[in-house]
Amino acid sequence: MNINDIQSTGKKATRDGFGQGLLEAGRQNPDIVGLTADLLGSLQMQHFQKEFPERFFQVGIAEANMMGIAAGLAIGGKIPFTGTFANFSTGRVYDQIRQSIAYSHKNVKICASHAGVTLGEDGATHQILEDIGMMRMLPGMVVINPCDYDQTKAATLAIAEYYGPVYLRFGRPSWPMFTTGKEFKIGKALHLATGTDVSIFATGHLVWTAIEAAKELATQGVSCEVINIHTIKPLDEEAILDSVSKTRAVVVAEEHQRNGGLGDAIANLLVHKLPVPMEYVGVNDSFGESGTPEQLLEKYGLGKKDVLWAVKDVLDRKGK
């Protein structure tokens, strides 16, 4: 798998992938129901709602209630998909998720759009960068952060088939598509490019950023292994350890705080099993602000140049 074989086939938002995935899942399984807290269109849930109005519940701006109702629907044998922004899907309702969904092991799919700084102009009140950390700390919670339209759609279909609580995180902006036709399996990393010098593990929007950085590094003679970790929990430890035992240098890229995210999940694995030089591409203990997604990605250290810098740093430490 050569890095230069990965090409974008166009641009669409990951949330659109969710909307289409939910519609298809709803057609396949009559037990699937939808809920939103006054963000129907933002979550692209209108497709499902139009086709299955009796299976869709408008909760109003009341996320705590939505999580409890979803838990109840799950008790009654339904498969509820809740839809609101990532901030209101996690931080606002952490205790409801913890008690009524996670601890009670309810089959609820918490679907969260507008995660991270690529939300853009709305600013830091809405740009949650802590959600992966919060959700992966909950025992039994599956945490998935797909990287493009097709993967989000595939993930939506996959979680409908899985029994148990899931946090599915996606975003607002149009983003390059490059996983068309690739298999999606919960907990199974997606190998994008084979390399020997450094392993780049990326999730969400920053997978494309990692690919672009790896392409540039290839022209400089640096061979990057690029692996998409869409499922942050449960982590594909085998794929990570296989790659790192070969490259012995790691960069993790994610649109999230460095604290608590994919980087910490991988560091936790490696510190026990295979300590090697490692760098994080993530937000460094900071809130975001208003701006365009591109401006914010650059300002908050989530751009291609940040991946390039991180790779150079780990290679220096590795002693290449």
Binding site: G68, G77, Q99
Partner: protein, 283 residues
């Protein structure tokens, strides 16, 4: 359907169980448990159509009950055990290591009769609404019951749920409020006034029933049956049920002091002297 005399005797046994459980582990919440004893005995013994064995999480074709104020777990556990959900002997494990009878109700250890964890307050009504919606989708004509504390109504999520249930006409739902006027830090009027509770629920679009004698078994049964008849008319139904916290034991009655406290040996003996042994027997 058990006869009234038998249920009254069971209520005494449940009170013995509550005090013995709490004394056994020197922790837990006797006050609200004693206040809601008639409610639980009436509900499970005379009102609910339910099947204890095998316990089914989805409860299709059954009435389902949700306890939002999970700290009154002793009364629920005792009533579940006496209704055949699990062995009465298991009550002796309450709040002890490796027990299915957690301090607050949980599904994690697989205790039959429990469908969701509760304890962190204000969440049970939302869950009950979700179950009621699932029943509606399945054209299941049975009812969903939920008990919440009155102090618990301080939690904003309840009012989100109350709005939702009226807006979406969830009329297969019967919520009961344990209106004992007490919470941990004192009377509700002093801690956080509920003001005119019936008018509040009415204004939110609910069918409001008031039960003045929440510790009168026959009155509770009559009210729960009345509430069922009021369902199916486009409005959720609430019973505002006056109870006495700590009812049945003189030094615990009518005060918030025994909300979450276990008696010492002397007070335990004094409490047990007020609750004659029954034919059901102690755990």
């Amino acid at each position: 359907m058990a006869d009234i005399a038998q249920l009254k005797e069971l209520a005494t046994q449940v009170r013995r169980d509550i005090v013995r459980m709490v004394f056994n582990c020197q922790s837990g919440h006797p006050g609200g448990s004693l206040g809601c004893t008639e409610f639980f005995v009436a509900l499970y013994g005379n009102v609910l159509k339910h099947k204890p064995k095998p316990f089914k999480m989805e409860g299709k074709g059954q009435d389902m009950f949700f306890l939002s104020n999970g700290h009154i777990s002793p009364v629920w556990y005792s009533v579940l055990a006496h209704n055949g959900y699990f062995d009465v002997k298991e009550l002796s494990t309450f709040r002890k290591l490796n027990s299915r009878l957690q301090g607050h109700p949980a599904t994690h250890e697989g205790l039959p009769g429990i469908r969701v964890a509760s304890g962190s307050l204000g969440q049970g009504m939302s869950v009950a609404i979700g179950v009621a919606l699932a029943k509606r989708l399945d054209a299941d004509p049975r009812w969903v019951f939920c008990l919440t504390g009155d102090g618990e109504l301080d939690e904003g999520q309840n009012w989100e749920a109350i709005m939702f249930a009226a807006h979406h006409k969830v009329d297969n739902l019967i919520v009961t409020v344990d209106w004992n006027g007490q919470q941990i830090d004192g009377p509700t009027d002093k801690v956080m006034s509920l003001q005119v509770l019936p008018a509040k629920w009415k204004a939110f679009g609910w069918d409001v029933l008031i039960l003045e004698k929440g510790n009168d078994l026959e009155a509770v049964i009559a009210m729960l049956r009345k509430a069922k008849r009021r369902c199916g008319k486009g409005k959720p139904v609430v019973i505002l049920m006056r109870t006495e916290m700590g009812h049945g034991i003189d030094f615990m009655a009518g005060t918030h002091e025994w909300h979450g406290k276990a008696p010492n040996q002397e007070l335990f003996d004094r409490a047990m002297a007020q609750l004659p042994e029954t034919t059901f027997g102690d755990f």
